[in-house]
Subunit: 431 residues, 2 copies
Amino acid sequence: MKILPVKGTRDFYPPQMTVRNFICDGWKAASLRSGFVEYDGPIFEHLQMYQIKSGDEIVEQLFHLTDRGGRELAIRPEITPTLARMVNQQVNALPRPIKWFSMPRLCRAERPQKGRLREFFQWNIDILGVEDVLADAEVIFCTLDYLRSAGLTSKDVIAKISSRKLLAALLLHLGIAADRLETLYPILDKKAKLPAEAFEEMLAKAVESSATVKTILELMAAHSADDILHIVPDVAANETAQTALDELQRVFGYLKAMGVAEYCRFDMSIVRGLAYYTGMVFEVHDVVGDLRAVCGGGRYDNLLKDFGGPALSATGMGMGDCVLEILLRERGLLTDETFKRKLDYFVACTDAALTSAALAIAARLRAGGASVELSYKTGNLGKQLKQADACGAMRCLIVGQEYQDGGKVVVKEMATGEQSLVSEEMLLNRL
Amino acid sequence: MKILPVKGTRDFYPPQMTVRNFICDGWKAASLRSGFVEYDGPIFEHLQMYQIKSGDEIVEQLFHLTDRGGRELAIRPEITPTLARMVNQQVNALPRPIKWFSMPRLCRAERPQKGRLREFFQWNIDILGVEDVLADAEVIFCTLDYLRSAGLTSKDVIAKISSRKLLAALLLHLGIAADRLETLYPILDKKAKLPAEAFEEMLAKAVESSATVKTILELMAAHSADDILHIVPDVAANETAQTALDELQRVFGYLKAMGVAEYCRFDMSIVRGLAYYTGMVFEVHDVVGDLRAVCGGGRYDNLLKDFGGPALSATGMGMGDCVLEILLRERGLLTDETFKRKLDYFVACTDAALTSAALAIAARLRAGGASVELSYKTGNLGKQLKQADACGAMRCLIVGQEYQDGGKVVVKEMATGEQSLVSEEMLLNRL
């Protein structure tokens, strides 16, 4: 019988696995450079855990299952709830600050589309226990440090940075009721995703006064403190708004000190849909702008408390592999070199009687740390050299007549075709 | 509210993640040394896929779910069915031989016990398209090459090797009906897991003649071709049995040539429960012998055909992380060195006014490839040095008075306490 993969999942054949490893290795290296340590959780958790942070909306996107004990479980659609649970469990024992990264496999039961699959990998970095915006700057820096190391310049990607604290202060200042804010965030978050008219219509339904709607629309287009003061002059006296603006300015100052200012821009239209953000929020977009956000994140100081733990400030970022891979391909940053298999030696054998000798050489080279492929068919050297080439071997070792005569193997440099006759001992000494 | 992890799953806090990475990195390195290339599949597949290879027994061990389209899915309990599906899909395009490895996360709804969890990682290596037992020897070699590289000697682990082809020939020779073999394998596989009496009772129920039961029990204890000929002398004329014995002898010859003979022993009691094995079968056990098998595998030449593809010979091995980790711990092979965090620099800052300077230095070192942690609290140097030590930093950079006076930082070697005064430029040149 013929069996197909499940819709929206991916098969990682060796070339696709190479891309996945290329991306994950880059994430890991950037995390370690910035002093993050790795953690991971289980692939499934209790279903209810996902409702705390993200409400019932996320439950629709979950792959849920009931185990034989009748427990309601879900394959993780994100790792932040697991992070909150794990940190809370050992909150008094963990050294501070908690600077953790992870690259979990996640699943969401969404309709598959460009840059969005039902199964994907997501790089997460989080700093817990640091109230200062220095931690926010570190999260943005580490994100950009990775993108830069992958070859993306400020002409390719831009970090759009704002503050949920500032937005909240402005909305309250405009007369929006505090209990309306949580409903408003996901609407404002849709600005870039909807046609202007549809967005304005949606906003008008949520906000009574049309004058306020107009002001909000103007604010969404603000790119500086001056822009904001120009739109709502009397906010200069609003203490919360001023604090939020000062914090944002400090974030930008730190990012400049860290050499990534050219990637960063203040952009009030960055809102993030989830209710749980409490301070800096940011997204990285491709400059051309036809892809979904490459990543997003921000400060979420209340989540650990919501998960039954103590108040512990937190800030973090999540970056999926799907949009990123499209972007890297579009920018020509996944080259043939990325896909080239690296192999130290291919052992060819021209005489079946020498199979054991060829095996012995391969095994000793491997034990010495070299990567070695060998031919399962002795005889025809031409075919074996072709296979050596297909494997990406740097050198082909030919075990044949010369071995039988004097215990030596022919070493063929695959790039130049140069050949030399070497004893087994010399070969091992080279390692 | 307080939320707990799901029973039988693991949280990988940084120390546990270090162990997991230590194990997976070792698996990967051994795979690459032996010329395997990496692949992976989705975390879930169509439920029915798992019934083909392993029958209904495995369905009980599955975490299954129904997606919104009504499809019956299951979280993968093993990766071989995925391998078979993937290879079949591209069977004409894939270069031969297919030498693939993977380290999938797998889930089984079993009762958690020592060395067996509901969620685990399993190293898989498989060679497809090679009929010769050379491929079987390569699979065993790669397995042992890893175990040896992890520090396990032949005093710690032993590879018990047998042949399903030989066993089948012997059982048929003893008069067991061909259609009874598949029922018998899982019973014979229980020999080491049950008390002798219970095992014999089970066997007696499955095999009518008590004389045959006695012979089978004797055969199960065989450790050489001579042992077998002694027990069933007339098998010398059985062609299939002789072919199987010859093949086994060649496997042992290759393993000797590859320098791992001391780890290997012929042991007829190794059966493997699954019906799908067709040739060499093996398991690695700890020599003390109170743990479950560290790994197991063998030849399965019919699986790809069973999955709707062409006949393609195959041989492989699977090793879980749980028993292995217990064994490595018991043998003292997970040392403090394994867990020691490695960090190049910790940047301390004694004056809040110098924060940006400290950040700039940290960012430049990171951009140069160094791993750098920094203090989020300026001021008290003693506390920062303690944190540098806790992070495992090799060097602490102190940005303070000397920086203000002459643009230099104090470099403190954490191991010796030695201090030197270095310009920022010199620091970057060191990278």
